[in-house]
C-alpha cells in the first residue's frame, strides 16, 4: 500500500491555542491515563491466562482454581475495555475474536466440539484458520465451565484448544497494543492533531465519547437480553453473557467502571453543574444496584420475584445512557451518530 501523507498546514498561533485547549488536554489525558492502560491491562491479563493454562495443562492432577481465576481476570479486563475500545480493537473484526456474544444458536458448543473432532491435537495454525467462534473467551469459558465438559478427564482433547485460545488472545492484544504505541499510532493520533485519523482534538474526543456511549448501550443489551426484552418478555437465561462462568454481573460492573473512567475525565468540560450532578448520580445508581444483586444474572432472571429489581436496574442504565447520549452530547456539542448508525 502506498503511504498516506497528510498535508498539515497549521499555523503557530493555532498550535499555541491547541496547547491550552481544555478539550485537547482531556483527550490526551484520556488516551494516556485511561485508554492505553486499559489496553495494557487487557494484554497483561492474557499473558497471565497463558501462564495459567500452561501450568494447568502440564500437570494432569492440577487444580483448576488458578486457571478459573486467570480466566475471570481476562474476562474482566476485556469487559472493562469494551467502552474504551476506540481505534484498532474496534476495527478489522478484532473484537469478535475476543468474545462471541450473543450466541443465539449455541454455535460455540457445536463449532468447538466439531473442530476438536476433526483434529487430533489442535495446532496453532488450525486455530488461526478456524472461525472466530472458537478463538475467543466464549469457547474458553465453555470448556472450563460447561457441565458437559469433563475437563479433568480430557486434557488431551481440550488442553490444546485452551492453550491455543490463550495464546491467540495474547497475540491479538499485543498486536493491538503495538498499533497504539507505534509511531503515528493510535496514541499519537489522540495526542498530536491534525493527523491521519482526526482533524482536531475535538474529533478525537467525540470518537472516545461515542465509543463510551455505545459501551453503555451494550450494557443494556447484556442485561436486557436474558431478561427477555428482545424476546417478548420470555426470559433467556442462556443468552446472558458469561452465563457458564456466572460472571455476567461482574462483567457489567467492570464495563461500567470503564465507562465511568471516561466520564471522570470529561466531567471538567461540562458547563452545567446540575448535569454533572445528575450523571454522577446516574453512575452511582447503576453501580449500587449492580452491587446489591444477590445471585448470578442467569439465575436471577429465572425467578419472577426478581423482575422488578432487574427492571429498575435496566431503567437506571437507560437513564445513564440518555443523560450522556442527549444531555451530555448537547452540552459538549458532540455529534453522536449519523450515517454509520442509520445509513442506507
Amino acid at each position: 500500500m502506498r503511504a498516506l501523507s497528510v498535508l498539515v498546514s497549521v499555523s503557530l498561533s493555532v498550535l499555541l491555542v491547541a496547547c491550552s485547549n481544555p478539550r485537547q488536554e482531556v483527550t490526551v489525558q484520556l488516551a494516556n491515563d485511561v485508554l492505553l492502560p486499559a489496553h495494557q491491562q487487557w494484554r497483561d491479563s492474557n499473558a497471565a491466562l497463558v501462564d495459567a493454562v500452561e501450568t494447568y495443562c502440564a500437570a494432569p492432577q492440577a487444580s483448576v482454581d488458578d486457571l478459573e481465576t486467570a480466566f475471570y481476570q481476562a474476562q474482566s479486563r476485556w469487559s472493562h475495555l469494551q467502552p474504551l475500545m476506540v481505534g484498532p480493537l474496534s476495527e478489522g473484526n478484532r473484537s469478535w475474536q475476543v468474545q462471541f456474544w450473543p450466541d443465539k444458536r449455541n454455535m460455540v458448543v457445536r463449532q468447538t466440539e466439531s473442530l476438536l473432532d476433526e483434529t487430533d491435537s489442535l495446532t496453532r495454525e488450525q486455530l488461526e484458520k478456524a472461525s472466530v467462534v472458537v478463538q475467543g473467551l466464549t469457547a474458553f469459558e465453555y470448556v472450563l465451565f460447561d457441565q458437559s465438559v469433563a475437563l479433568a478427564q480430557s486434557h488431551d482433547r481440550y488442553c490444546p484448544l485452551l492453550t491455543g485460545i490463550a495464546r491467540h488472545q495474547l497475540a491479538l492484544s499485543e498486536s493491538v497494543l503495538a498499533l497504539w504505541n507505534e509511531p503515528g499510532g493510535m496514541l499519537a493520533q489522540l495526542r498530536d492533531f491534525p493527523n491521519e485519523r482526526y482533524a482536531t482534538a475535538e474529533e478525537g474526543l467525540a470518537a472516545i465519547l461515542r465509543t463510551q456511549i455505545t459501551g453503555v448501550d451494550v450494557l443494556k443489551k447484556k442485561l436486557g437480553t436474558p431478561m427477555g426484552r428482545l424476546n417478548q418478555g420470555v426470559v433467556q437465561p442462556y443468552q446472558a453473557e458469561a452465563w457458564r462462568s456466572r460472571q455476567s454481573i461482574e462483567n457489567l460492573q467492570a464495563s461500567l467502571q470503564g465507562a465511568q473512567a471516561v466520564w471522570e475525565r470529561v466531567r471538567s468540560l461540562v458547563s452545567d453543574a446540575a448535569l454533572v450532578k445528575d450523571i454522577d448520580q446516574a453512575y452511582a445508581d447503576v453501580a449500587n444496584q449492580l452491587a446489591a444483586l444477590p445471585a448470578p444474572l442467569m439465575e436471577l432472571v429465572q425467578a419472577p420475584a426478581n423482575s422488578e429489581t432487574l427492571t429498575t436496574l435496566y431503567a437506571a442504565l437507560d437513564n445513564l445512557e440518555n443523560r450522556q447520549q442527549t444531555e451530555l452530547a448537547r452540552n459538549l456539542n458532540i455529534q453522536i451518530g449519523f450515517n454509520a448508525n442509520d445509513g442506507d
Binding site: 500500500m1 498535508l7 445509513g343
Partner: protein, 370 residues
C-alpha cells in the same frame, strides 16, 4: 435572478440537441468558483437540508426540506437538481442551484415510495428513479418523469420494472440509453425501513434499457449481500458496493466488478480490508481518467482507493463516518457524517490528504460534484 421564460424556452430548445452541444457546459456554476458539491445534510437539531457548497467552503445554499434526502440527480445542463428522498420517502425536491429555491416538491405516485436515487437522461427531458411498489412490497420499479422546461416541473410519465427486488442506486451505461441498477434484494413494506426477508434475499445487478427491456441480470454467490451502490467508468466498467446481512463475523466480498463483456464477479479486496468495512459499504466513485475507484465504509470509519484495473490498494485510511465520495480533478472529495470533509489527491504514488473548509459532520451518504 430567476429563470426567465425566454431562457427556459431556450434551454428547452437545447434539450433536443444538447448531446451535440456538449450538454451541461451550459451552466456550471458561478464563474471562477471551485466545484459545486451537492448533498443532503442535517443540522444538530435534526432538520434536513438540500445543500450546495463550493469545495472552497463557500455556501451556495442550504434549503430546509421535510424529508431526509439521500442522493442528488443533477440536471445535465439546467441549473436544477433533484434531491431524492431516502427510503421510504414519498417526497423528493427539485432545487434551483443558483439560489437554492425549492422549485417543486415531487411526490411519489400512490403505492410507491422513493429509494433515494435518481438520474437525469443526458438530453435533459427525462428523469428516472428507483421506487418500491408498496402493493407488492419489494417489487422494484423504475419511475419515469418528464421535466417541463417551461415551468421546471417534473411530471410522472410512467414506469417499468427493475427486474428485481428492492432497487437502490442506478447509473447510466456509456451509451446513455441503458441503465445499470443495483437491486438490493431486500423487501420492505409500506412506510417502513424494516427488512422483511433477510433469510430469502434476492439481490441482482441488472442492465436494462431506459424503456424497460432487460439486457442482463446477474447475481453474486452470497444472497445476503445486498447490491446497493455503484458507479460506471467511461469504458463501461461497473463497480458495485454491497452490504452484508449475514453474521457480522463472516468474511464475504463487499465489492464487485463487471468489466465490459465479462461476468459480474467479486472485485479483489483483501480479507483484512474487508474486515475493516464492518460489512457495510456506502458510496462508490470511479475516477475514469485515473482509472481508480474509491469507496466509503462509514461503519468501519474507513476510506479506500484502489486501482480499477490491477486492484492494487492506493489508500486504506481511517475517516470517521465517511459518507459521500466523488471524483474531482486529481482525486476524490469525501464528506463525513461526523467529522471534517477531505480531499484526497491520488495522482501520484503518495496519496495526499487535505481537509476541506466545509462544515464538519451531518453530511448524508452521497454527493454530486459539478
Amino acid at each position: 435572478m430567476s429563470l426567465t421564460r425566454r431562457k427556459l424556452l431556450g434551454a428547452g430548445a437545447a434539450m433536443a440537441g444538447v448531446a451535440a452541444l456538449g450538454g451541461w457546459a451550459l451552466w456550471t456554476g458561478t464563474a471562477g468558483e471551485s466545484p459545486l458539491l451537492l448533498s443532503a445534510r442535517n443540522d444538530d437539531a435534526g432538520q434536513h437540508y438540500a445543500v450546495g457548497y463550493y469545495l472552497n467552503g463557500k455556501r451556495a445554499f442550504a434549503t430546509p426540506v421535510a424529508e431526509r434526502c439521500h442522493a442528488v440527480a443533477r440536471h445535465p445542463f439546467l441549473p436544477v437538481a433533484l434531491y431524492v428522498g431516502r427510503r421510504p420517502a414519498r417526497e423528493s425536491y427539485l432545487i434551483d442551484l443558483r439560489d437554492g429555491r425549492l422549485l417543486q416538491t415531487l411526490r411519489s405516485q400512490p403505492d410507491r415510495h422513493f429509494y433515494g436515487h435518481a438520474v437525469f437522461h443526458a438530453r435533459g427531458e427525462w428523469l428516472y428513479t428507483t421506487e418500491n411498489d408498496t402493493r407488492e412490497p419489494g417489487r422494484g420499479v423504475l419511475g419515469r418523469y418528464r421535466l417541463d422546461p417551461a415551468v421546471l416541473r417534473l411530471t410522472h410519465d410512467g414506469e417499468a420494472t427493475t427486474h428485481g427486488v428492492g432497487p437502490h442506486e442506478l447509473a447510466w451505461m456509456p451509451d446513455g440509453e441503458s441503465l445499470v441498477i443495483g437491486n438490493g434484494g431486500i423487501r420492505t413494506e409500506g412506510g417502513s425501513r424494516e427488512e422483511m426477508n433477510l433469510d430469502a434475499m434476492a439481490p441482482s445487478l441488472v442492465i436494462m434499457s431506459r424503456h424497460g427491456e432487460l439486457i442482463s441480470k446477474e447475481t453474486l454467490a452470497d444472497a445476503q449481500s445486498s447490491i446497493r451502490h455503484l458507479d460506471v467508468a467511461a469504458d463501461g466498467t461497473v463497480i458495485t458496493g454491497q452490504q452484508y446481512h449475514g453474521p457480522a463475523y463472516n468474511s464475504v466480498p463487499l465489492l464487485a466488478i463487471k468489466r465490459p463483456g465479462e461476468a459480474y464477479q467479486p472485485f479483489p479486496v483483501s480479507r483484512a480490508q474487508l474486515a475493516m468495512m464492518d460489512q457495510y459499504t456506502a458510496s462508490i466513485a470511479i475516477h475514469s481518467e485515473q482509472r481508480q475507484v474509491a469507496m466509503t465504509a462509514p461503519r468501519g470509519n474507513r476510506f479506500f482507493i484502489w486501482d480499477l484495473d490491477s486492484g492494487d490498494t492506493l489508500l486504506d485510511a481511517p475517516m470517521s463516518d465517511c459518507a459521500g465520495v466523488g471524483a474531482v480533478p486529481g482525486g476524490f472529495a469525501v464528506t463525513s457524517g461526523q467529522g471534517k470533509c477531505r480531499y484526497y489527491d491520488s495522482r501520484t504514488a503518495e496519496v495526499q490528504s487535505q481537509w476541506l473548509e466545509l462544515p464538519g459532520g451531518w453530511w448524508d451518504n452521497h454527493l454530486w460534484l459539478s
